[in-house]
Amino acid sequence: MNRTYELMFIVRPDMAEEDQDKLISTLQSAVTSSGGTVKTVEKWGKRRLAYTVRKFHDGIYILLIVEGGGGLIHELERRLRVTEPVIKFLTVRVDEEQKRLDKIKAIRDARRKAAAPAAPAEAAAGEAPAVTA
């Protein structure tokens, strides 16, 4: 139930600022109504697209980081699909990756702390998982 997703979508470049905010708040209410939380909203603004999407060369990028179950993303993507100004979206699940990064950081911090009175067994045990990871 605490899966973290990054949802990035591109909106047509001629969309007004308030329409964007309206869209974002619609998505936010959809998230909270399905029992999730919105962690961050990032607006990247207008960027040049690497290739033409639906005859547009630029687009406004918006990033949403949400926490919730799998069904939540299903709902969000459905909404984005029917929303006409949205031309592309991509959802990435990030909680597994975040777990891995936190583990590596924890190992590195533990290793740094045990660096001075380095018990050799502990340092080797800390090194092997860190290198193989």
Binding site: M8, I10, R48, L49, A50, Y51, V53, G59, L63, K88, F89, L90, V92, E97, R100, L101, I104, E127, A128, V131, T132
Partner: protein
């Protein structure tokens, strides 16, 4: 040379899963570096570049995000293709993560599928 000590520690940990094809990115002492480099020639680059190290391992960059286009664009050719790891010297797990990040970036139009990166 500090990398050498770490490289010798790992072969004991991983049996030979990465060893069916000689890992050209790793430092393999018995492999001849001289005839390999000379035969390929500077343009052909047929043999591995033994001096190349994995940029991610050295700088300890763990998170390869699809969003940092500048980092990803270094590993993408002019034509938009992903550069093979024998040319960039990236190690296998990082190359795998890098290529999925590049593919995600392509999907969200941050990198092109083909052609110059604008």
């Amino acid at each position: 040379m500090a990398d050498e000590t770490r490289a010798t520690a790992t072969p004991s940990a991983e049996p030979s899963t990465g060893g069916d094809r000689p890992d050209r990115g790793e430092r393999r002492p018995p492999r001849p570096g001289g005839p390999g480099g000379r035969e390929g020639g500077p343009g052909g680059r047929k043999y591995f570049r033994r001096k190349k190290v994995c940029k991610f391992c050295v700088e300890k960059i763990e998170a390869i995000n699809y969003k940092d286009v500048r980092l990803l664009a270094q590993f993408v050719a002019e034509s938009g293709k992903i550069v093979p790891r024998r040319l960039t010297g990236v190690c296998t797990p990082h190359q795998r993560r890098l290529s999925s990040a590049i593919k995600q970036a392509r999907n969200i139009a941050l990198l092109p599928f083909a052609g110059r990166a604008s």
